[in-house]
């Protein structure tokens, strides 16, 4: 079993090499990248906005409800919302959701192409199918930090609305909290994480779709396995990056 896992990991890294081999003509690739940006990034804006806005609101409410000691200042609501949203909720929590949304879309679309011999058709024509199919997704997900940036903003906005309109504090207190002890490196840390999660979101689901065998049932199974492995890898990488970048 260990050998099987190691062999899969080796195959995954060999796939990375093949993605950059024999590039597809730029005139064709340009269109593919734009289509993937539309499908993966623009198509995810709605769900990212929805999740981050309400999660930001919930974080603000829960922090407010736990501030039972009158000596603890109200600005802590804004501070806690900012820290939670920027450090974890927007980059990591949203990436896990995206592993389900984007990941299952990528695995099932590539897996279906495998089952219906469309990938064989590309190879027989002399097209590097990995470059043709995965490279545009990788390029599109370079814009993933942009998506998460919007999520961060909306998460904090959701927190502000919940705090102010829920009667848990004033706008000045919340904004003061957002500005309190702000460390710009936390933003850098969040975007480094997001950038690397984007690469995982493009490649792990592609790997599971590209190398799947079988029929329609296996496409479904591959999507599930892809979601599990993408999530596990994101969580492990999150831990490693946090240890490396924040613990000093």
């Amino acid at each position: 079993m260990l050998v099987r896992y190691l062999s899969q990991i080796g195959r995954y890294f060999l796939m990375w090499k093949e993605i950059f081999n024999k590039p597809t003509k730029w005139s064709v690739m340009k269109g593919l990248i734009l289509k993937e940006i539309d499908d993966l990034i623009i198509g995810s804006l709605g769900i990212v906005a929805f999740i981050t806005f309400f999660v930001g609101g919930v974080v603000a409410i829960q922090t407010a409800l736990n501030l039972t000691n009158p000596l603890i200042p109200k600005y802590l609501i804004g501070f806690a919302t900012r820290q939670s949203v920027i450090l974890e909720f927007a980059p990591t929590f949203v990436s896990i959701v995206m592993a389900g949304k984007m990941g299952s879309f990528i695995t099932s679309s590539i897996g279906t192409m495998r089952v219906t011999e469309q990938i064989d058709a590309l190879e027989v024509m002399g097209v590097n199918s990995l470059n043709y199919l995965v490279f545009p997704k990788l390029m599109a997900l370079l814009l993933y930090p942009f998506l998460i940036g919007i999520g961060m903003f909306l998460g904090i906005l959701g927190g502000w609305m919940a705090a102010v309109y829920g009667g848990f504090g004033t706008s000045d207190e919340f904004i003061g909290g957002i500005q309190q002890d702000f460390i710009p490196f936390h933003i850098v840390y969040a975007f480094i994480k997001t950038f690397l999660f984007g690469l995982l979101l493009a490649t792990i689901p592609s790997f599971h779709g590209y190398y799947m065998k079988g029929g329609a049932l296996e496409v479904g199974k591959a999507s599930t396995v892809s979601f599990v492995w993408t999530s596990v890898t994101i969580i492990l990488l999150n831990y490693i990056l946090t240890q490396l970048l924040l613990s000093s």
Binding site: T24, K25, Q118, A121, E123, V124, M125, G126, V127
Partner: protein, 253 residues
């Protein structure tokens, strides 16, 4: 001409091709026939370079496939057209985009030149009103014709067809068979068809290779298949009463 010598291929402990040698001739419809599990599909996929043989050689007009560099292989693949069993059309593209795909990928022609060529080949396969339809919006027979159009759009030297008649009604099957034969003669290409459809064998079989248990059991033309006394071929080809009677009638003259 495609020449195969002593081709062997195994998957794990199972030896699927056990030393096949044959020649697929230019300008002729070469058919690979045999029972399920005889190695037809593996032979076809090995010819196409999808499977790497364990031993033996495949040469495309003197160019040995497994001795070529990756660049040379990709170059050769642009000379190959393939019609897959399930058509393998790209779902997200229209009929015209599917047919234009090899042109967009491998030529430097202008959009209008590509369009002219697409119109020409779609007309050639008698499909003039489906340009903007998606593969899911057309019938199986039409999908096969689009697949043939895509396979020939780049003027290939070699055309491979995997079960081109599977899932088609008898009338459409004959249309597809005749279309492949006409194209083969018209463009003088080497066509290799993997089939278990005996109607195709009788209709267009100019060079038939019969496989049994991974070995070439027999080779000949559709005329010779009537006269053969090879029991394995007779049992396979004339398994239906209709074909038995056709053979008896043919032999009686």
């Amino acid at each position: 001409m495609i020449e195969v010598k002593n081709l062997e291929k195994s998957f794990g402990d199972s030896k699927v091709l056990k030393g096949i040698s044959t020649v697929f001739e230019t300008g002729k419809t070469n058919l690979i026939i045999g029972q399920s599990g005889s190695g037809k599909t593996v032979l076809l996929k090995t010819l196409l370079g999808i499977h790497k043989p364990d031993s033996g050689t495949i040469s495309y007009d003197g160019r040995f496939y497994w001795e070529m560099s990756e660049d040379e292989k990709r170059e050769l693949r642009t000379e190959i057209g393939m019609v897959f069993q399930g058509s393998a059309l790209f779902d997200s593209m229209t009929v015209a985009q599917n047919v234009a795909f090899p042109l967009k990928m491998f030529t430097k022609q202008s959009k209008s030149e590509n369009q002219d060529r697409v119109d020409f080949v779609l007309k050639r396969v008698n499909l003039t009103e489906a340009h903007n339809k998606l593969p899911s919006e057309i019938s199986g027979g039409m999908q096969k014709r689009v697949a043939i159009a895509r396979a020939i759009v780049n003027n290939p030297k070699y055309l491979f067809c995997d079960e081109p008649n599977s899932g088609l009604d008898p009338n459409t099957s004959i249309l597809i068979d005749n279309l492949i034969k006409e194209i083969t003669e018209e463009y003088n290409i080497t066509t290799v068809i993997n089939t278990h459809d005996m109607n195709s064998v009788m209709e267009i079989g100019e060079n038939i290779v019969f496989l049994k248990n991974g070995l070439k059991e027999w080779q000949g033309s559709k005329e010779e298949i009537f006269k053969t006394d090879n029991q394995a071929v007779v049992d396979f080809v004339y398994s239906s009463n209709l074909f038995k009677k056709v053979r008896e009638a043919y032999l009686k003259g």
